[in-house]
């Protein structure tokens, strides 16, 4: 096999294949990350919904007979508790939706909220020492970041604009994920707040590449080898795929969600803040069509999620996609279903063969 023409990301992260399986809180799994990392690409595990002990346990499982690098991913938002007026507005907005399922919005249990990277998680990270840590929504405070870096861990984070990319480089990122508008799940935006000006990968990637000197990882809209070759042409040193890995059997994806993914291309995807309070891309369903996809009524991230959780659960119990949180990117229509290690090796082989085709 020919070598990858751009070695920068491989060298920084100690990889054989410049492909990262995107962390996907709630949908990734130890099995998925293990399978990807075992090929020499980079598997990731999202930790925003995990407790400290669960992270320790997951890393233990990742390391069993697997010595390749893997990535732990953390959110680093601030928790801005909404006031009671905001919650009342959100309740009034959601009440008609609750009524469809005969649910009582006044008796909603606490839900597990996405937590930011903190002192406790930092101690876990120092202890278990993943080779790579990626952050979403910027970076944690300087002290925490320094502790992670001092442990020799490489730091990634996502930029959705050139300004964010420059900021991440100047704050110590070892490589930057250029997250195109096409990407599924939460937009990593942290300096920019306007989704109307968010950039497609075609325009974002070369502008980020020109603006920073650390390696750039392309994310959003990539689900096959063509996308990898295109991303490298636009200046990426590697790629991150999320949605494509949701089609692998190792992903933690319910049968209904899996069926929705198979039809994501026809349904379309849109960016919505109606699930968590922050913009994230998911498959268009009744909830997004009727009430969004964006709404000023959603309380701040991550608190919107608490009152949406019963709707999501009731919808799934009823076998309906209407209120399910169906994160997916725009390239779902290109994905194939096969074991994650096989998929990763296939992507790499096809991309390399295309890259060297001109020479034959």
């Amino acid at each position: 096999m020919q070598p990858w023409p751009d070695h920068r990301l491989l060298d920084v992260l100690k990889l054989e294949i410049p492909i990262i399986q995107a962390p996907m809180a709630g949908s990734d799994s130890v099995a998925l990350a293990r399978s990807v990392s075992s090929t020499g690409a980079l598997g990731s595990l999202a930790c925003a919904l995990l407790a400290a002990d669960q992270v320790r346990e997951a890393v233990r499982a990742l390391r069993q007979r697997m010595s390749r690098p893997f990535n732990l991913n953390f959110f680093c938002h601030t928790m801005e508790t909404p006031d009671s007026i905001a919650i009342q507005k959100w309740k009034s907005f959601l009440r008609p939706h609750y009524e469809r399922f005969g649910l009582d919005i006044e008796s909603v249990a606490e839900t597990r909220l996405r937590r930011p990277f903190d002192e406790e998680m930092c101690a876990v990270v120092e202890d278990v020492g993943p080779e790579v840590v990626s952050f979403h929504f910027g970076l944690p405070n300087k002290d925490l970041l320094e502790r992670v870096k001092r442990r020799g861990i490489k730091i990634l984070s996502s930029a959705t604009t050139v300004s964010e990319a420059k900021w991440l480089e100047s704050h110590g990122c070892d490589a930057i994920i250029a997250q195109g508008f096409e990407a599924g799940g939460h937009r990593g935006m942290f300096l920019e707040t306007n989704i109307a000006t968010q950039l497609g990968l075609f325009a974002l990637l070369p502008q980020v590449r020109d603006a920073v000197s650390v390696p750039v990882i392309a994310a959003g809209g990539i689900a096959d080898a063509r996308g990898i070759v295109a991303a490298l042409a636009l200046g990426a040193s590697g790629v991150q795929l999320g949605t494509a890995y949701l089609f692998c059997p190792e992903a933690n994806v319910s049968p209904l969600y899996r069926r929705a993914l198979a039809h994501a291309a026809e349904k379309g995807t849109a960016i919505t803040n109606l699930f968590s309070g922050r913009p994230a891309r998911g498959i268009l369903n009744r909830y997004l069509q009727e009430s969004g996809p964006m709404s000023d009524v959603a309380p701040p991230f991550p608190y919107a999620a608490t009152l949406v959780a019963p709707l999501r659960a009731a919808s799934e119990r009823a076998g309906s996609l209407d209120y399910m949180q169906l994160w997916a990117g725009e390239a779902a229509g290109l994905a194939q279903s096969m074991p994650a290690d096989q998929f990763t090796r296939k992507l790499a082989a096809e991309a390399l063969s295309e890259l060297y085709k001109a020479s034959t």
Copy 2:
């Protein structure tokens, strides 16, 4: 010079270089199209704002000592005259903006509206016989289309979804422009109405390529040779660049607009219906920030333009970008300023050198 690896578009349109200068009503020019076509790429002239005689005159000028193919572009919307309630709502919405300039919204002159391709234009096209005609917003009715095709003219149109691409192929397009979300100016959407689900080029292009058998032209977010190489990797047989050509001296771009383009990357661009009634991407300014970028109040295309014209003119007279219609795509930050023929040859040479780099 090495040959282009994919010859399909070159063969269909009789080109030497698979680059199309996008038609840009109001901003393109005969000089621009001539300069591009003279290289063996395809220059385009938007005719939506031109009268029949102006089109004849433009073609005469294009043909002077230039025998290469060129493209005439037409819109093919239906004119849905808004009712008086819609106009009153639009006036109420615009009145505070008028007041900023001391303008009277009750004494607005008629403005030249973008006209759809019709019987009269069809006769002109049959008469002057451009090698290529491209349509925006679908295709004209069957009779008109047949007349153009019978003349031996090749037909292009833009698709923003896979469904639109399939429709265009089945209705006789010789090649299809996959218009990514990144593109400046009007979105060509004609079956789809929801801009929230519009796709970035990275995701759209390979899905369109897989769905149709005619050659696919990539548009949106491309402004340098890297974008061309990436588009070819994703399955395009050619590319269409608009914004990048606005930086050429031949483009009909006012000094203020030119200055705005130079800062488009920092300002950001957004899709707005506030100028014409249809979604189109332009540089973010005060008008879009305060009142949009999208609004339900805008009357149907193209009628919104009449009442916005005085605001645009007053803004430009005052040396202010606040109300100017600054169409631009997301890759403005990558563009360079040089004569259009030189720019086209540079793009082609750099793309070819990159395509054959792996072999050295």
